[in-house]
């Protein structure tokens, strides 16, 4: 009997081609699609699971002659991902729900169901490569197609999750995937690709927060590092680190958002020179090989999904944390987003960027931690 693999389908061209390729490779393929949470009344807007996309996924499964199941993940998604999103904003960071979804929903909730169905593997249409050698833990690499690489959001995967993972698209480019879909005459959703969060359904995240966490929109002062009040902000949730436009401060030099001081409900701004920074610390580190490295090492770090990797020195700290010192100053460290560590294209691990301590006190604290 051939090896069973569950493909997490979405109706999109990537997961459809992933299913077709695995079938061609001789796996017994089963399609599953998660029904994720949407705000009541906005169900048809959820980018990940509209009735239309589910219909297409079902059609693809029918064409391939594989079983297809819709799996209700709404409650799990709401209680983990959506709560994490709201709590993140409440604590002043900019959360990345896709990280939480991959860790807890796709690669935990759905994987459990795939394994219960008798599958040895679960596959997705992510652009990322996995190196698997007998007796060795799996190693996660960037995709061949750099423009489509999704290793950033999969940096959250633990060895026990990677052990069951298959990523059939990692060696392909998007045009190649489209060509395979065309050749197999696979239907695919016509909607254009989007980076929006699925449960926002194309809506601005601030409107969602205003409905679901209205207390977070309270106005407060805009200050510089010296504590001088320069204006009033309309609620911290409306700003992102590094933002220049829309601050409403008249000054000869443009101001940039440096920090959000949640305790004071203050937006800290400064000029361009103050924006760049060399150092950050990240917590809740996940190491794809399981154990944290014991010694400092040189690596490349990506601080946003679409950021360019930059060389840095990584120093492991106590308690699943690391200190990262970039060779050159970087802009736009955003607490709550992931810092993902790469070496020669391999994802070593990732963690969440922590809010920096107040600027003046910072270097001593970090020095102490680094020496600890």
């Amino acid at each position: 009997m051939s090896t069973k693999v569950v493909v997490a389908m979405s109706g999109g061209v990537d997961s459809s081609v992933a299913a077709a390729l695995l079938q061609r490779q001789g796996y017994e393929v089963i399609g599953m699609m998660m029904r994720l949470w949407s705000e009541p009344g906005r169900e048809s807007h959820n980018r990940c699971c509209t009735p239309e996309s589910m219909g297409i996924a079902r059609q693809v499964a029918g064409q391939l002659g594989i079983p297809f199941y819709a799996v209700n993940a709404q409650e799990s998604f709401r209680s983990t991902v959506v709560e994490y999103f709201l709590e993140g904003y409440a604590s002043g960071v900019t959360p990345n729900p896709c990280l939480a979804c991959n860790r807890h929903i796709r690669w935990e909730f759905l994987l459990e169901r795939a394994l219960a169905q008798g599958a040895e593997f679960m596959a997705t249409g992510h652009y990322v490569r996995l190196q698997r050698e007998p007796g060795q833990p799996e190693r996660l690499f960037e995709a061949v197609d750099q423009a489509k690489d999704q290793s950033y959001v999969l940096s959250v995967l633990r060895p026990d999750q990677l052990r069951h993972a298959l990523f059939p698209l990692g060696d392909l480019t998007k045009p190649e995937v489209r060509a395979i879909a065309a050749e197999l005459n696979l239907p695919a959703a016509t909607s254009k690709e989007s980076q929006d969060l699925c449960f926002l359904g194309g809506e601005d995240y601030r409107a969602f927060l205003q409905r679901n966490a209205p207390q977070l929109g309270a106005p407060g002062p805009i200050q510089n590092r010296a504590g001088e009040v320069l204006g009033e902000h309309s609620g911290l949730i409306h700003y992102t680190i590094g933002q220049r436009k829309g601050l409403g401060i008249a000054a000869p030099e443009p101001f940039y958002v440096l920090e959000k001081d949640q305790a004071q409900n203050a937006l800290i701004v400064g000029n361009q020179d103050e924006l760049g920074d060399r150092e950050l610390s990240a917590g809740q580190m996940n190491w794809t090989q399981g154990a944290a490295p014991s010694e400092p090492f040189a690596a490349d770090v990506k601080i946003r999904y679409k950021a360019t990797k930059a060389p840095a020195q990584i120093s492991p700290l106590e308690g699943d944390r690391v200190h990262i010192r970039f060779d050159d100053p970087q802009r736009g460290f955003t607490p709550g987003q992931a810092a993902v560590i790469y070496r020669e294209g391999e994802v070593l691990g990732g963690g969440l960027i922590e809010a920096a301590p107040p600027k003046a006190a910072r270097s001593q604290v970090q020095l102490a931690e680094a020496l600890a």
């Binding site: 589910m54 079983p67 199941y69 819709a70 169901r113 219960a116």
Partner: protein, 390 residues
């Protein structure tokens, strides 16, 4: 474990495979005797002959007059025509504004009644069923009013299989001159349907539940019962259902109905023993399980259960993976299950109601298939319980 490549079908309550003999009688009416039965010419005459022969056959099986049988697109349309048609006609004739419907109806009746209340100003009153999903005549009697437009009580429930005392309920309604509708869609294949001995005024049937084709059904409308048509147009079907009749399907339905009704007793005996094999086996081998519906007064092919701490849809996936096709009260292919309204109406908590399983056997079911199912089920229930606690 059965081979998932040739799965075992235990979902006859959802639909049935069409009988080969039904297909035989349908065939000529597609391309050969294809005429419009309303046409004057020879083509139309042949189609009309087929149509009216089917009506006479089916009416005879039901112990009704041919003119009392209206062909529709299926059970849902029959329910719509009955409930809406009777409600609006009773309002027009005598100002009646009260609708009495049991709380264990199929959605085709239940949602209709809700819409009549919400959008058309009718007063909807629900008749509570007991814990076994049965509607007691005294609960109906206590709610009948002068201004009751129509009463609707399902003959046999689709989710829990309970059979209702329709004869007694019908007598109560008839004594008050209030029309009673019964949805007999689930009952059609397994219970004798005699509208005279039942004493009902309106009765819905859908062919695909009794080994006939999908997309065709019938509504029995007792002589003298007034309905407002829900679909206006030509004067087909006594002016109650406009649209060219689907002749081949009607011919097939009549044939299928005559086949099942001719054999209800013999079939019921075989099915009952398969059903009891399921019920006894499941209750013996699965812990924290209970039978839903009435233990005896239930459809001979219908077994339904609740398993504590199970997501019914997850269990269906596991069963399908192991090669067994069943359904659940919250059956929903879009992954958005809500506990069944029928089970919650019967008093089950959400936690229990989400873990429902319906096993409905049919004429092709074999005892060894039930054995295979009973062997596989306990481990699959445990697996789905583990998923809920993970």
């Amino acid at each position: 474990m059965s081979d998932p490549k040739t799965p075992i079908y235990l979902d006859y309550g959802a639909t049935t495979p069409m009988d080969e003999r039904v297909w035989q009688v349908m065939q000529p009416f597609f391309s050969q005797d294809f005429g419009n039965p309303s046409s004057v010419h020879a083509f139309g005459q042949r189609a009309e002959a087929g149509l009216e022969a089917a009506r006479r056959d089916m009416a005879a099986q039901l112990n009704a007059e041919p003119g009392e049988l209206i062909f529709t697109s299926g059970g849902t349309e029959s329910d719509n025509l009955a409930l809406r048609g009777a409600a609006f006609a009773a309002r027009a004739a005598r100002g009646a504004n009260h609708i009495l419907v049991s709380n264990v109806e199929h959605a085709a009746v239940a949602r209709n009644a809700v819409q009549l209340a919400d959008s058309h100003g009718f007063e909807l009153e629900l008749i509570p069923a007991d814990q076994q999903g049965q509607v007691q005549p005294e609960e109906v009697a206590a709610r009948l009013r002068e201004d009751t437009a129509v009463v609707s009580v399902v003959m046999a429930n689709n989710e829990v299989g309970t059979i209702n005392p329709i004869t007694e309920i019908a007598a109560l309604c008839r004594a008050r001159y209030i029309p009673l509708h019964t949805d007999a869609v689930q009952a059609g294949a397994y219970l004798p349907i005699n509208v005279q001995s039942l004493g009902v005024d309106l009765l819905s049937l859908g062919a695909h539940k009794f080994y006939g084709p999908k997309g065709i059904g019938a509504l029995y409308v007792s002589e003298g019962i007034k309905l407002l048509p829900t679909q206006a147009g030509g004067s087909h079907e006594e002016g109650l259902r406009a649209g060219t009749p689907n002749v081949p399907y009607i011919v097939g339905m009549a044939q299928a109905f005559s086949l099942v009704q001719g054999e209800t007793e013999a079939r019921a005996t075989t099915l009952r023993s398969l059903r009891d094999q399921v019920i006894n086996g499941v209750l013996k081998s699965v812990p924290d399980a209970q039978l839903t519906g009435h233990p005896e007064q239930r459809l001979p092919n219908h077994a339904s259960f609740l398993f504590q701490g199970v997501d019914g849809n997850a269990l269906l996936m596991l069963l399908d993976g192991a090669g067994f096709a069943c359904s659940s009260g919250s059956a929903c292919k879009t992954g958005d299950p809500e506990p069944s309204e029928i089970l919650t109406a019967m008093g089950f908590t959400r936690e229990w109601a989400l873990g429902s399983l319906r096993v409905t056997v049919g004429i092709h079911t074999q005892p060894d298939e039930i054995e295979a199912f009973l062997t596989a089920l306990p481990a699959l229930v445990e697996k789905s319980r583990a998923l809920e606690t993970a």
